[in-house]
Amino acid sequence: QPIPLGHLMDLSGGTSDVGTPFSQGVNDTFAWVNKSRGGVAGRPVNGMATDYGYQAPRAVSQYQAWSRDKVVGIMGWGTADTEALVRFVTRDKVPYISGSYSAALTDAGGKSGRQGVEAAPFNFFYGPSYSDGLRAMLQWAAEDWKAKGRPGKPKYVHMGANHPYPNSPKAAGEALAQELGFEVLPPVTFALTPGDYTAQCLTLKNQGANYAYLGNTAGSNISVLRACQTAGVDVQFLGNVWGMDENAMKAAGTAANGVVFPVRTAAVWGQQAPGMAQVQAISKMSDAAGTAYRPVHYLAGICSAMLMVEAMETAAANGGQVTGERIRDGFYARKDWAPKGFEGVCAPSNFTPADHRGQLEVALYRSRVAGDTSGGSVQELVSNGTIKLEKVTTVNLPRKPEWLGW
């Protein structure tokens, strides 16, 4: 008897650029788990994948449909929908791993006392929160500024759509930037869709920003990068986890050169790591030839899904029932938890009943684009070195209680 799991994907909406590889990773992982291990405790995982087009209301109505099917857990996606569903999953006790790393989801006990943040005991995600990712980048930026020896205060600006996802780390980022001695400029808005953002770039140029956070996903960030390249804007872009990847680098070309962004996995596709063999095995589930290039989000999808799988295994251990509550407890069962066999790929996470900040160690990468990217696939561009992901540094953030849920 299969274990019903919900899986919300965005294959068609505003974030489908990154949603597609991520959900492919999740789906392949479940397929691989079913095939290579016979599922969880002998029961196949039934991941009911639905494309909800990044529309929170559709996610809610899908959730209600699933709650009739009595799903035991959900692989979710966006910030808006995940936050909207917090109350529902808490009520129904359904563990929920989202693609959203909104810090508001980390306050499991509801103790942070921040306005608008409620207890989210069933919400998890794999990776550093958006806020923590941004904090890491800001710390790096402060040092970068010093290292470059430029005069005066660096100027920081937050860019992104007016949407829960880009908004999520806005306040936290601006607060820390202030603290680190940045001058904080008024935020610049641009939509989640690709478009012509020359006007925004001219503003940016005019303001003289030095560090700009791109809060959207790759697709629209590319448009900004290209427009700013044309307008001759000289600014160090800091990307969100979802803001940059190999596909985006190909699409943006040299405009994407130099963007710094967090990567949640300990290795990227093609690098050597102990867990890479299993990752390749998973990739074969949807690419029998084994030739496809898998961007960072695919790997993140695998790691997220594996957390759910291992938590369910914990729940099922010793003949236990695979229920929502038991799965949730499964998340607390391990320290420095990297799914078995994925060491070196999936970075370790730590969850406690009060604090769902799984990762505070943030690996920062820089994109390197050497030339014309319009010919050839991502695979080719990476292998001939036109596109490169270059590790910059790893920032270890302190587990500050006042940053919980923020």
Partner: protein, 297 residues
């Protein structure tokens, strides 16, 4: 107040506005021929840009060849649309035809996503000189080219409607299809012609935008931007369409200026044209250049 930023934004607005103007003209063309407001105009851009992209990347055609093949394809596309979808609707109320264009819009939008995916894709580099500096503003050379093209297209349209016999026939068809037929005008042909021209002209705009920003489904948003432009200009005025396009382009950029400096609302670029639209309609219900309908009893 920052003069140079404002100037640059204005310039940028004019450049983008010229493109809006081109799309608006092809929109007005269909309106003048059939009183149909074409909600699939943006999808024409989209289809044109994707086809051209596909020819250039998958078939490795040189730009000019790919561009010409695209135009030929769009002619055919316009005619086929007319024959398959719009011809059966001849004689039906205008509202039905407008609904059909809405249907077409959704259909092709989704179809393009299905075929080409949702990721924005860049064109291969086309011009050796990518940028030109104008009054301190870096401008893509494609944009300048498009500016020239729009002027040509505009002159062509102006001649067509006032001096040519087919232009007259188109206006007559718009006024009353039955009368046009009684004069020997083949209404299906007039429609096919207007759709084909409109599709081709939009595709030109689509390719230009695609070359600059990359191709993605959001190109179809130009089809929506067209509305404030044509309302400003008046639905049936070619000159108005171009001016409307320019105004909308500038307006957007000024809205961005206002937004960035004072309002901080975020989305002013997107909605400012629509506020302007409502205002204009309140003051001049037929736009700045539109003609009033004749009402006699």
């Amino acid at each position: 107040m920052d003069g140079s930023l404002l100037l640059q934004l204005t310039l940028n607005g004019l450049i983008v506005g010229a493109l809006y103007g081109v799309v608006a003209m092809s929109f007005v063309l269909i309106y003048k021929a059939s009183q149909v407001v074409n909600f699939a105009q943006g999808e024409f851009l989209l289809v044109g840009a994707w086809v051209c992209w596909w020819l250039l990347t998958e078939w490795q055609l040189p730009f000019w060849a790919g561009f010409l093949v695209t135009l030929a394809f769009m002619t055919l596309f316009g005619v086929i649309l007319q024959v398959v979808v719009l011809r059966p609707l001849i004689g039906e109320p205008v509202i039905s035809v407008i609904m059909a264009t809405i249907g077409l819009g959704i259909f092709f939008q989704a179809l393009m996503k299905w075929i080409f995916g949702v990721f924005a894709k860049p064109f291969p580099p086309i011009f050796p000189v990518e940028r030109v500096n104008l009054l301190g503003l870096e401008i893509q050379s494609v944009y300048l080219l498009s500016l020239g093209i729009s002027v040509l297209i505009m002159l062509g349209f102006a001649w067509f409607f006032t001096a040519s016999k087919h232009g007259l026939a188109m206006r007559a068809t718009a006024f009353d299809q039955q009368v046009a037929q009684s004069l020997g005008v083949s209404v299906p042909k007039v429609f096919a012609m207007s759709w084909a021209i409109s599709a081709v002209v939009s595709a030109v705009a689509g390719v230009v935008v695609g070359v600059v920003n990359g191709v993605s489904s959001s190109l179809s948003f130009y089809g929506i931007k067209v509305f404030p432009a044509v309302i400003l200009g008046g639905l049936d005025s070619v000159v108005g369409a171009v001016l409307g396009g320019l105004i909308v382009g500038v307006l957007e950029n000024w809205a961005q200026y206002l937004d960035a400096n004072w309002l901080n609302w975020g989305n002013m670029v997107g909605v400012a044209p629509f506020y302007a639209l409502i205002l204009i309609l309140l003051i001049k219900p037929y736009g700045l250049f539109g003609t009033k309908n004749i009402e006699r009893v």
